[in-house]
């Protein structure tokens, strides 16, 4: 089995490659990259080679999403591992990390194994389970991290239920370090967030909705950076959302601490002004922030402070999103709009170079979590995403592969579309 992806612009941040080339895949692995400058034939298509014409398209390592909620086990009406994996490859993601806040919580090796088995059945994207930090994510006793790691977990997180007890967090970091696990934190001091449903600022005041201050996030980011220094653990700040938070991460990185972070497409694209009108698809945690915060996130994406673009794909049934704003669940889906939103907001605006955006979707997340992939180096698994940076499309939620439709981008005109996704050399998605 050979596949030749011909004539595309290959961007591989792991090897600092950005050129028009041919990519040859053989037996599920990257065989070679050969220049296909005008006048040369590049890698000659042999008779047993399937050819994918990638002229005018970008050829990149398969995208990696560090933050996805797959809802299985327990809430299969919102999403299953199979539907989530289908949504992933439709969005160009060949690897996704599954957050543990399922029902039951992924706080044991048996749940971790269940997720891995289900993902294997689904095929399509690689699914990396993230285990809980504490049992049932209650923030009290440590979950059996080492067993989950042996079963295939790559990191631990109590996503959605931040660890409030700083001593528990310290122990979690020390223990996770022993077992080579990354500690992910959804940074939010729940007491300070005070039951808020939107960002605290002009718009929360205007709309009479309870606000969560930036300080509620930043105080936990500060705590975690201090604990990272104290324990030597690798700490990953999930869905960073404020100017203050990115500034702290920037300083921590300068000090050489093992701190990484991710940003969501929606925090790059939207501000809390979008809440006017009370569309519950603008409700997520952390909330959409101010324009100043959004500008700081874009700058942090540009300067390398941010390691990864992660979707925080959080499917909810439309019935639940039809509740009153303050009763509706937090979260939006993101796998199938991530590339289009990222390119529209970062690339076509001229804010962030294309290669840097590709890095945040590929090599950046791979390094942050020490995952295989994120590279087109010879011999590595052939996870490849081909996309059209100019491809214009309108977000039609009815066409989503995800089971859920809760997106703030419905009806948006986006520029940047996935052309094809290959996982282990297999064709898993074609536009």
């Amino acid at each position: 089995m050979k596949l030749l992806i011909q004539g595309g612009r290959i961007i591989d941040p792991s090897q600092r490659i950005d050129k028009i080339s041919d990519l040859l895949i053989e037996d599920g692995r990257i065989k070679s990259i050969a220049d296909s400058v005008p006048g040369s034939e590049g890698i000659l298509p042999a008779s047993d080679v399937e050819v994918f014409d990638a002229r005018g398209l970008i050829v990149a390592p398969g995208f990696i999403d560090l933050h996805v909620h797959l809802r299985e086990p327990g809430e299969e009406y919102k999403e299953t591992i199979a539907s989530g994996a289908a949504a992933a490859v439709a969005g160009g993601f060949t690897s996704i990390c599954a957050m543990p806040n399922t029902k039951p919580v992924n706080d044991s090796a048996s749940v971790t194994r269940f997720i891995i088995d289900k993902a294997r059945e689904a095929g399509l994207a690689r699914v990396y389970p993230v285990g809980a930090i504490t049992r049932e994510s209650k923030g009290e006793e440590l979950a059996e991290m080492a067993e989950m790691k042996d079963a295939g977990a790559v990191a631990v997180s109590d996503d959605g239920r931040p660890v409030m007890d700083s001593q528990v967090m310290r122990h979690a970091m020390e223990y996770a370090r022993d077992h080579g696990l990354i500690v992910i934190d959804h940074c939010q001091d729940l007491r300070l967030a005070a039951g808020g449903v939107v960002n605290e600022g002009r718009y929360s005041t205007l709309l009479g909705l309870k606000g969560m201050s930036g300080a509620a996030e930043e105080s936990h980011v500060a705590r975690d950076i201090m604990l990272a220094e104290l324990t030597g653990a690798r700490v990953h700040i999930a869905h960073i959302s404020t100017a203050g938070s990115v500034e702290m991460v920037r300083l921590a990185k300068r000090q050489g601490l093992g701190v990484t972070c991710e940003v969501t497409p929606h925090h790059l694209a939207l501000t809390d002004a979008a809440v006017v009108g009370f569309d519950t698809n603008t409700k997520m945690s952390p909330p959409l922030r101010s324009e100043e915060d959004r500008a700081a996130l874009i700058e942090a994406a540009r300067d390398g402070t941010i390691d990864a673009i992660a979707t925080d794909h959080a499917p909810h049934h439309s019935d639940e999103k039809m509740f009153e704003y303050d009763r509706a669940p937090f979260g939006v889906v993101g796998l199938e709009t991530a590339l289009g939103v990222a390119l529209t907001v970062l690339h076509h605006s001229g804010a962030v170079p294309l290669a840097r955006i590709v890095e945040m979707l590929t090599t950046g997340p791979a390094l942050a979590f020490s995952l295989p992939g994120g590279t087109l180096a010879e011999g590595s698994p052939a996870d490849v995403t081909v996309f059209d940076p100019e491809g214009e499309w309108t977000v039609d939620v009815q066409r989503f592969k995800s089971k859920s439709r809760n997106t703030p981008f419905a009806g948006w005109r986006l520029r940047g579309s996935v052309a094809a996704t290959f996982a282990r050399g297999r064709d898993v998605f074609r536009a």
Binding site: T205, G208, L209, F278, E320, M322, F323, E324, Y325
Partner: protein, 314 residues
């Protein structure tokens, strides 16, 4: 001018002309309540549903009387949000109401934005009777009507709004309305009960909105002092140490009222906690317009119903 809106969701969206249309129309309805037979046939055959998810005596009764004086059929529904099961969404409520073909639905709900969500789901006119801490447009309109009646103008007046600003939809709607009409609004109260960015609430207004560091600063020289109710149930959230301390530090007494202009009027949307945010002497003084507000509420709500669902109003 004609009033062409389907709904009355808030003051923020209204133009100065629309506000004046409502206030002028209310003038003409005020006389109806003074007649021996307090009824006109303007809304005969129309149905108004008062759907209240929060306890209310004043507003609900005021809407009911307003509808009846216009000869509309008024139906009151008291619902409790706690009884709404998790599976029952707004859409179900909307569809059920729609099936009964009302012309207007007055809704009060503890969640901000519910009237806005409902307005997209039903064809009846939605009137916001108070949504969480967001807006209470009819209260602000009746307050403006009352001020106009006593001061003959709103533009240029100094208005103090004092108390629990954070949880007050009345304060938000009044801040929008009074500044649109050119008043200078000063906000006072404990810092714990003034949400961030309050001074940036308004845009493109004739008047101004200022948050004061001390309530005496807000009250000094005011033509109107509007006091807000302290909601005792919020005491648990440690916004202030005790009701006793609140009444001393932030309550309106005759002595503190002395800081205001000599002909200052005092308002309160009710219900009043005597001796907490306002002393009995002030409530019962000649300067207090608290009962005028209630009287005017009927005329203003008649005007709103008429403009939204009256055939002549459309």
């Amino acid at each position: 001018m004609a009033f062409t809106r389907k709904d009355l969701l808030g003051i923020r969206e209204l133009s100065v002309e629309e506000i004046n249309t409502i206030l002028d129309t209310a003038e003409s309805f005020k006389e109806v309540s003074a007649r021996a037979i307090k009824k006109v046939p303007a809304l005969r055959g129309k149905t108004v549903i008062n759907l209240f998810f929060e306890a209310s005596t004043r507003t609900r009764t005021s809407f009911e009387i307003a509808a009846k004086r216009l000869s509309a059929d008024a139906v009151n529904i008291s619902a409790s949000t706690s009884s709404v099961s998790k599976g029952e969404s707004l859409i179900d409520m909307a569809q059920n109401l729609q099936a009964m073909a009302p012309d207007a639905i007055v809704i009060r709900h503890p969640s901000p934005g519910v009237p806005h969500q409902l307005s997209k789901m039903v064809s009846a006119s939605i009137i916001n009777g108070g949504d969480g801490a967001h807006e209470h447009p009819t209260q602000a309109l009746l307050d403006a009507f009352t001020i106009r009646q006593h001061k003959r103008r709103i533009s240029g007046l100094q208005v103090a709004i004092v108390g629990d600003i954070m949880h007050s939809r009345v304060a938000r709607s009044n801040a929008h309305l009074l500044t649109k009409l050119g008043a200078h609004v000063r906000i006072g109260g404990p810092r714990t009960l003034i949400p961030v960015g309050y001074d940036k609430l308004i845009e493109n207004s004739e008047g101004s909105l200022t948050v004061c560091d001390h309530i005496d600063e807000a009250i000094a020289g005011s033509d109107v002092v509007m006091m807000l109710r302290i909601q005792r149930e919020r005491m648990t959230d440690a916004f202030f140490p005790s009701l006793k301390e609140y009444s001393v530090q932030y309550g309106l007494t005759l002595r503190r009222l002395g800081l205001a202009a000599g002909d200052c009027i005092v308002m309160h949307p009710g219900p009043v906690n005597r001796g907490i945010e306002i002393s009995s002497e002030v409530v019962d003084s000649a300067r207090s317009l608290i009962l005028d507000q209630v009287t005017n509420g009927v005329a203003v709500r008649m005007a709103i119903l008429f403009l939204l669902i009256g055939t002549e109003g459309q």
